[in-house]
């Protein structure tokens, strides 16, 4: 099950989540600022995944200067979309 969220634009990020049954969390971050802020970006992704109780997924993040809250939000939306949430479900 795959879900994407966000946009390739300034101060935003594009997130693709592929939910799996096993394998743990595999997080790949593509960012010009990865050297400086990669650790914080990774934590933001993990926080969001943990909050939605996702333990097994491939998560790809292409970020363009987004703050942590935006990364968390986009990851959550992508997870919900991957789960096939209808618009009226959280």
């Amino acid at each position: 099950m795959v879900g994407t969220a966000g946009f390739e634009r300034e101060q935003d990020c594009l997130v693709k989540v592929t939910l799996k049954d096993t394998g743990g969390l595999n997080i790949h971050i593509n960012s010009k600022l990865k050297l400086l802020f990669g650790k914080q970006m990774l934590e933001a992704v993990k926080d969001a995944a943990n909050e939605l109780k996702v333990e097994n997924a491939d998560i790809e993040v292409s970020e363009f200067g987004s703050l942590d809250f935006a990364i968390r939000a986009r990851v959550k939306t992508a997870i919900r979309r991957a789960r096939g949430a209808k618009y009226e479900e959280a």
Partner: protein, 292 residues
């Protein structure tokens, strides 16, 4: 001290940068919009962005409102549940037409507050009155719940339903605006005037803001940051008004100490309504931080 709501700046909740760029303009309030400014396909992502922003960012003394989707849509109830849990304490209820609309939201809010161990009544409501029916029910709406802190006029849908165009003279809005101000006064809530959409016409905007102030509105909805400064200038007491008000209050205090009933200030008779108006101006000036 009375909460200042001179400006309520609309901001789409659909882009991350909006959440931290908008406070730079120091409106009294920001209305993060989950409704009309957000495309259908992005309603879920806007809600997630808003919730994460509210949990993370410090908006200081800017009051945050959220315009939810109407409760009769697929999104409305989830909007309320998620944003209240995230920390939102002011909700703008769109297309409010009856007291019953307010009570439905109130019931949902009470349920969500209890589920999340939030004090019942903590979440306040601004009712957007955007239809002729809503205007005629403005008093019932404004008094429908102690959660209601303001009623806000929306002219775009109002004129669409009436079948008229919006004009720069705003004659087509005269009755609605006057009635909303009266209803808000009786209910002791704020009355917020409608948006001015022609952002390039600053002079026209200023004229309408001046009129809104004269009519008795507490503030104005804004759709562009450039409008914030202009509204604050008009809705903030001037130096001259403040000085005159201070003289009136001082003279009234002296008169009371000396047992004098009728006084004059600057050649004009000063009685209780004049003193109360002066006190209101001083209160506004202090809230706007132009007087210590």
């Amino acid at each position: 001290m009375k909460k200042l709501r001179r400006t309520m700046l609309f901001c789409p909740a659909s882009e991350p940068k909006m959440f931290y760029n908008t406070p730079v303009y120091h409106p009294d309030c920001i209305i993060f919009d989950l409704e009309d400014a957000v495309a259908y396909a992005e309603k879920d992502s806007a809600r997630d962005l808003l919730c994460e922003a509210v949990k993370t960012l410090d908006f200081k003394d800017i009051e945050i409102f959220v315009r939810i989707n109407p409760l009769y849509t697929a999104f409305g109830e989830t909007d309320v549940r998620e944003i209240v849990k995230a920390g939102v304490r002011n909700i703008r209820l769109p297309m409010c037409e009856t007291a019953e609309d307010v009570k439905k939201l109130e019931a949902l809010l009470t349920e969500v507050e209890k589920e999340n161990n939030i004090d019942v009544g903590a979440v306040k409501v601004q009712c957007a009155i955007e239809t002729p029916k809503g205007v005629l029910n403005a008093l019932a709406i404004a008094t429908a719940s102690p959660r209601v802190v303001s009623i806000s006029f929306g002219a775009e849908d109002y004129t669409r339903i009436l079948g008229v165009d919006r004009t720069k003279t705003a004659k087509e809005l005269a009755y609605a605006r006057s009635y909303i101000v009266l209803a808000a006064s009786v209910a002791n809530v704020d009355a917020i005037d409608t948006v001015w959409s022609d952002v390039s016409d600053i002079e026209g905007f200023k004229a309408e803001v001046q009129e809104a102030k004269i009519m008795g509105f507490s503030g104005k909805s804004c759709v562009h940051p450039a409008q914030v400064k202009e509204v604050h200038k008009i809705f903030t007491p001037s130096q001259e008004e403040v000085e005159k008000s201070l003289r009136i209050i001082e003279a009234a205090k002296e008169a009371e100490e000396k047992g004098i009933g009728v006084i004059t200030v600057d050649g004009k008779m000063v009685d209780v309504p004049v003193i109360q108006k002066a006190e209101r101006i001083i209160s506004l000036a202090k809230a706007a931080k132009v007087l210590k």
